[in-house]
Amino acid sequence: MMDFLLQYFPEQAGLLSAEVDAIYIFMLAVSLFFTVLVVALSVIFSIQYRKRNEKMPEAIHGNLVLELTWTGIPLLLTLFMFAWGTAVYIKQVRIPENAKEIFVVGKQWMWKIQHGEGPREMNELHVPINQPIKLTMTSEDVIHSFYIPAMRMKQDTVPGRYSFMWFQATKPGKYHIFCAEYCGTKHSGMIGSLYAMEPADYQKWLDERIKNPLEPVANQPASSSSVESPVVHGEKLFTELKCITCHSQTSGAMGPDLAGLFGRDVKLEDGRTVPADETYLRHSIINPADGIVQGYSALMPTYKGQVSEEQLLSLVAYIKSLQSKKN
């Protein structure tokens, strides 16, 4: 029975796929039971109480006990469904610390992916199995949604901020990647494939891709053609764009010291305290005026339009890495 059912399920290739399928099967059972109950009762009553003579039936106003039972039972059932569903949802949303970070940028009708070690991919994602993978995603234009049916996971990529998603492949193979949020003409063409590989194979693929990278992606600026990790690329940009002049970690520098900034709460000039997550870092690069740190004047110019999403990802990755260099 189970394998009959499983052919109508996408590949259970993710750590949580089985748990999601378990809830789904439970819900199928509950729905089947109630649908059969209602349909059977309506058929039985229709046959049993079909009109036989002109006598009008007795009026039955209602029965409070019955009402309470068929309000109570569905209520308890739904609360149980809620509890189980939320428990699995928290696992789906909570990203383990030891996850390997991969950057994903959705652009109208393609997925641009970059690994922590540097190699870039277009519409393809190679990952090792049995290791949590954290996707830091954003979009360059409209809302897309990175969807891997085999992992039972999807997350919208919203332009203007970072959104996160994690999965852990358990079975090697090639799986679909779809764009699930309507994004324009070739929304149905914005697809790709996920290659889950044994860690050894993955490492071989990675080294090979670092040695001779694919030719640079068409519209990438020349400076990023060499395959360097976002952190290294970010550091280069940090000096190129002269961020170092103000954020020079020397005392009396015009800009706040960025080492160890990521993850800390930052007190702003206007009294708010904001957690310094990736979205805050990206926002401060593009719209510095909105988040001036307390004690500093609004000198920083905006870099909007001068940096692409990939460069922003590299800068954010570099700033985050400053933390590890310091402690």
Binding site: V20, Y49, I60, E67, F82, K154, P159, A180, H187
Partner: protein, 533 residues
Amino acid sequence: MESKKNYLTNGHTVGSWLLTIDHKRIGILYLLSVTAFFMLGGFFALLLRLELLTPRGDLFTSDIYNRIFTMHGVAMVFFFMIPAIPAAIGNFVLPIMVGAKDLAFPRINLLSWYLYIIGAALAFVSIVMGGVDTGWTFYTPYSSTYSTSAVTSAALGVFIAGFSSILTGLNFIVTVHKMRAPGMTWFRLPLFVWAHYATSLIMILGTPVIAVTVLLVFLERAFGFGFFDPRLGGDPVLFQHLFWFYSHPAVYIMILPSMGVISELVAAFTKKRPFGYEFIAGSSLAIALLGFFVWGHHMFVSSQSMYAGIVFSIITFLVGVPSAVKIFNWLATFYKGSITFETPMIYVLGFFGLFMVGGLTGLFLAIMAIDVHVHDTYFVVAHFHYIMVGGTVMGYLGGLHYWWPKMSGKMYNEALGRIAAIGIFLGFNLTFFPQFIAGYLGMPRRYHIYAEEFQIFNILSTGGAMVLGLSFIIPIFNMLWSLKFGKDAPANPWNAKGLEWTIPSPPTTHNFETTPIVTEEAYAYAPHDKGGH
């Protein structure tokens, strides 16, 4: 009695129809316009299904396909589902049911129809100008900055049609509160009126928010105001909050009137007072009010915070319970009834099966763990079609057949009616059940080109769509046929209780000769049950 002029024969000039303030004529005007839009939306649906026969996009280009599914959505949601039962059947029947000569504001009722027509004209202009390709949800930033299609005129069309819905809701609430016949206490009102009262509350409290949202999108698109555009600092997720604050209660605007119709049909064809009348009436109000607290379940994966998602998820489960209560109460009414199976009753049985599947799959989607997997896939498409077509359209057609003798004075063809009902039920299941399976397998919605492994389900679905399309044509012929060849309808063809069955069919312009005095309780079928509480 026949010689007296009834509302149909009271004036034949075009002006007497286009400038009428008689709620019955306005109901007929609405009936014609919503049927036209139902056929337009249905035509787009058939084009979609034909295209999806094959994984490759070989009938249309992607761009045209996107415009077709958007226009299918806009035509069906804004111009058929929302006005269908309240404006076409409700306008006609509700004043008579409460014992009034007309709605509280007849002229505003006519204004409501003209606003609907202006909104429809603007939507038509956008179709002529190449259609809209944003989906009926108009998600920004695509709809406000990236789409090059005629979004502006479609947005204005939806904006104006929204006010038509507001005015209908306003009219119903005032009529139910202030225009009831003497003796018609709240608990003697037919359940149809309760359902429309709850629906009107949603129309009043929800529709203005979609009006202002569409206005903000218009301002952003036309003048560059920066509300939802991330490049100007706006947040697209705020649009989703504003949009779904209305659009989820809007699905209750679509289903509650149908539930009202089902309550009437169940009572009339089992010749019994509905079991738990107060609970059915109460659950209509509960659905209407709770419906405003659940919109976030459309946004579980839209980078909405986890905690907000949990709150929306639990309340979505709570709003599911009243629907279950209604189904069980209708079933209990069957018990010890005297059931006959004219066409409306076939639609009721069809409604039970389809609405059960629709409602329960709604619980699937309320579970966040499953919704993360099936959001924006064909599982969702199948779910809301089971509720909209399985729930609302079955209720609409059931109600149309039930009150047709009263509206037109003619009896429709019983056999043809039953064939259509069964055809719709079978065709519908064949169309949408395979989509549940394709959805869970991961087939995303709004896809012009899809992966090969989903093809078998799409072929079945297209086959079903042909059967469904044909079955929907039959009732239209049945009604037109009845106008010419149907037997003259008596005042009470179903031997049912209700003020609308105490007046001749078709009724006179002023409905009642003398204002009726209501003495017995609602649905007083049982012989000795004279004293109503």
